[in-house]
């Protein structure tokens, strides 16, 4: 990784993407809920180990697109898609690919933190149990690693067997992050992870995202443009199911190409 201060201050040219391969590729992706078209011809590439933010007004399709990346939308009846999404070169709609194995490689954190009504330990290692790991030593080690990465270890290391529901809101969300990364997925999807949290908790999670991006490719949907500006390397702006602009975060926020983007980020929308 680049040394701390020097390159962060430079305006990141798109040439910085050299050396990073495109990890997630979305090509001409369209999506329908029954008769309603929710996404229209989305095409974008997400490079590995970067943070990409999806922004846009309510109902613009950003959450829908995010949930398609791990095929969580399969749970809804009557859906249809066209185009393709590939992760690391392989289409996620490949009939030979089990949805379950896709979801094990792509972790997800939800808007409202949803820990299971089990102990903290059991919450974190759930992903490992699901793939069949039984060895207690392995589970404990993975639990500690994940909780450390989620910056929660020091706060809960003495009460791993307590119920997860006794944690504060911010802690619960960090626990959900720990759970999502316990099985070392390659990609982490975050659907408005901070919208239910206060500013301090939000700040902690943003710091966490900043640290995690060394190891994970992160896609985050957020209502807050300021959050997208703070944490992401690239930003995509959506409106009414269409992709309006996708570029480096600096470009989007300092000098966007599209008038709609400019209107949205300056608050002159609608």
């Amino acid at each position: 990784m680049n040394p701390p201060s020097a390159s962060r201050i430079k305006v990141r040219p798109s040439a910085e993407r050299e050396g990073r391969k495109d990890y997630i590729s979305i090509r001409d992706f369209g999506f329908w809920y029954g008769q309603k078209k929710a996404l229209d011809a989305i095409s974008l590439d997400i490079p590995e180990r970067q943070v990409v933010a999806f922004i846009g007004p309510s109902g613009c399709g950003k959450s829908t697109l995010l949930r398609n990346l791990n095929r969580m939308n399969d749970l809804v009846d009557g859906i249809r898609h066209e185009g393709d999404i590939t992760i690391n070169g392989r289409s996620i709609y490949d009939p030979g690919l089990e949805v379950i194995s896709l979801r094990r490689r792509v972790g997800m954190v939800f808007q409202k933190s949803n820990p299971f009504p089990k102990s903290i330990f059991e919450n974190v290692v759930y992903a490992l149990r699901v793939v069949g790991v039984r060895d207690r030593a392995v589970l404990e080690e993975a639990c500690e690693t994940s909780l450390r990465k989620a910056a929660l270890w020091d706060e809960v290391k003495d009460r791993l067997d307590d119920s997860a529901l006794g944690l504060s809101g911010g802690q619960m969300q960090r626990l959900c992050i720990a759970r999502a990364i316990a099985n070392r997925p390659e990609i982490l999807l975050m659907d408005e992870p901070c919208s239910a949290l206060d500013p301090i908790a939000t700040g902690k999670i943003e710091e966490l995202i900043h640290e995690l991006k060394d190891q994970f490719t992160i896609v985050i949907v957020t209502h807050s443009m300021q959050q997208a500006a703070r944490v992401s390397d690239r930003t995509a702006f959506f409106y009414l199911g269409k992709q309006i602009e996708y570029d480096t975060t600096e470009k989007i926020f300092m000098n966007p190409s599209q008038a709609q983007t400019e209107a949205y980020i300056s608050g002159r929308f609608g």
Binding site: P4, G203, E206, E207, H210, E250
Partner: protein, 217 residues
């Protein structure tokens, strides 16, 4: 709580300080070049101006990026606004030093001077005042900043004395040579350097106290 982007603010400060040290170095070096008639030193100073210009552009980009992406509040906003002006002033100081260097080259073409009027003294005070202004920023010292505002008057006085001495003896005085006129340019440049130092001190006062002390008197 320290956020990861607060590092960028620190980097910005560091860049400004770097600019300040460079400008101060340039001023000191150019004064030595003038007194010693050292052409190579003068040329070196002119080369350094490019570097300071680059730094100014860099500082401006950093400011704009931070303002856009990280939504600063409170004293961070004042820092960013003050930094922009300080950057400009430092760049102007560097420019003035570069001008002095050019004048020095012209003087030395004509042969060495014997009488420098009050220019060396003015130069020393200008450097002191600039040092004081920079320190007030680096150390966050309001007293030093206010001292700068007072001492700027000394530079103005010396500049005026230079004028009076040179043109007081005029008339048909053949002793007023072209080189002396260059000296007046140098004096003027030093006086402007003092003014820019004063601007920097005003920005520092604004940064530290929120008070806008420009255009007083």
């Amino acid at each position: 709580m320290q956020r990861f982007f607060h590092d960028e603010l620190r980097q910005l400060r560091d860049d400004l300080i770097l600019m300040g040290e460079r400008s101060l170095d340039m001023t000191r070096m150019v004064l030595r070049a003038v007194e010693a008639g050292d052409d190579s030193l003068a040329l070196q100073v002119r080369g350094m101006d490019d570097r300071v210009d680059e730094l100014e552009k860099r500082v401006d980009r950093e400011i704009m990026r931070y303002l856009t992406l990280f939504g600063p509040m409170g004293s961070d906003v004042r820092l960013l606004l003050a930094a922009r002006d300080i950057g400009h002033d430092l760049e102007r100081i560097a420019d003035e030093a570069s001008v002095i260097a050019k004048r020095s080259l012209v003087i030395s073409e004509r042969g060495p001077l014997k009488n420098f009027l009050h220019v060396p003294q003015e130069g020393v005070i200008a450097c002191e005042v600039l040092r004081l202004a920079l320190d007030s920023f680096i150390e966050g010292d309001l007293d030093k900043a206010r001292l700068v505002l007072k001492r700027d008057a000394e530079i103005d006085t010396l500049n005026r004395l230079n004028y009076e001495e040179l043109f007081g003896q005029s008339g048909d005085n053949a002793k007023v040579s072209a080189s002396h006129v260059e000296l007046i340019f140098i004096s003027k440049a030093l006086e402007r350097i003092g003014d820019h130092s004063k601007n920097i001190a005003e920005q520092v006062i604004f940064l530290l106290s929120g008070e806008d002390v420009r255009h007083a008197r």
